[in-house]
Symmetry: C2
Subunit: 156 residues, 2 copies
């Protein structure tokens, strides 16, 4: 099995999409993260869920999580409301980390090593033209590794 | 809402548990990661899913993901078989990163800031005695933030 065999289609976002949409997509779809694509459909960023969450958090709290302790929990409403005006591109870190991508012929072990090294539960799969063709999640990879292992067993 | 209100119970592993068990727990339970506890029940490590996966990957591939490309996909069987002998404690990185934990009175924003900064989709919640009392996943946090936001809305 190669990347092309286990990649799935997942919704993506662009830099002009609202941050709220990105978080909702991820939460409702129970996705472990999101791929941000450019207008041509090339991956710009591959964000683990914690880094999609990071898009919503004001910079002051990112730098000093203890500051967030001082904020009363009733501010959760404000937390969501304040996101209204921001687009994904406004909130991406600078510089953007190089997206974690594999080509369609990547082996399962290669994908596993990249996820581990990049601390990411998803990787983008790209065609020879650099365009996104699918996404591989950690869940999907683990299932595929298990199935590949079974297939290799001699018949009992 | 505070950490204690949204924490859930999830299976944990110890350093003597087999790596295979850790990966299976996570995959079958569709958990975004795992907490490793010591014998007293204190969190030793809070591992995002990609770092649980990392426990399975031979060091040579971790350092050089492209090396994994040279391995034929039929080796997936060997990948699982070779894990047979290893315990979680054998495969944790050294030194172990300090576990991402919060106390039971942590606010939702504090938890969000910690997840973002620690690049982790789960945090451990500990009591005053330092023992694990529950886990908060990113999914759970996002849902709770959304609900908290709704509660704060003036009635329509």
């Amino acid at each position: 099995m190669r990347a092309v065999d286990i990649a799935i289609g997942l919704p993506t976002v662009g830099v002009f999409d609202p941050v709220v949409k990105a978080v909702q997509l991820m939460a409702v779809g129970r996705m472990p993260g999101l791929v941000v694509v450019d207008e041509a459909g090339r991956p710009l960023a591959v964000l683990p869920g914690s880094q999609v969450l990071r898009l919503c958090i004001p910079a002051a709290y990112q730098d000093d999580p203890l500051l967030a302790r001082t904020v009363d929990e009733s501010s959760a409403d404000a937390f969501w409301r304040q996101l209204g005006g921001f687009a994904v591109g406004d909130c991406l870190p600078h510089p953007i980390a190089r997206p974690v991508t594999v080509t369609q012929d990547a082996t399962l072990l290669e994908i596993a090593a990249l996820m581990a090294r990049g601390r990411t539960p998803l990787v983008a799969v790209t065609g020879t033209d650099g365009l996104l063709t699918g996404v591989i999640t950690l869940d999907r990879l683990l299932t595929s590794l298990a199935v590949a292992g079974l297939e290799d067993q001699p018949p009992g």
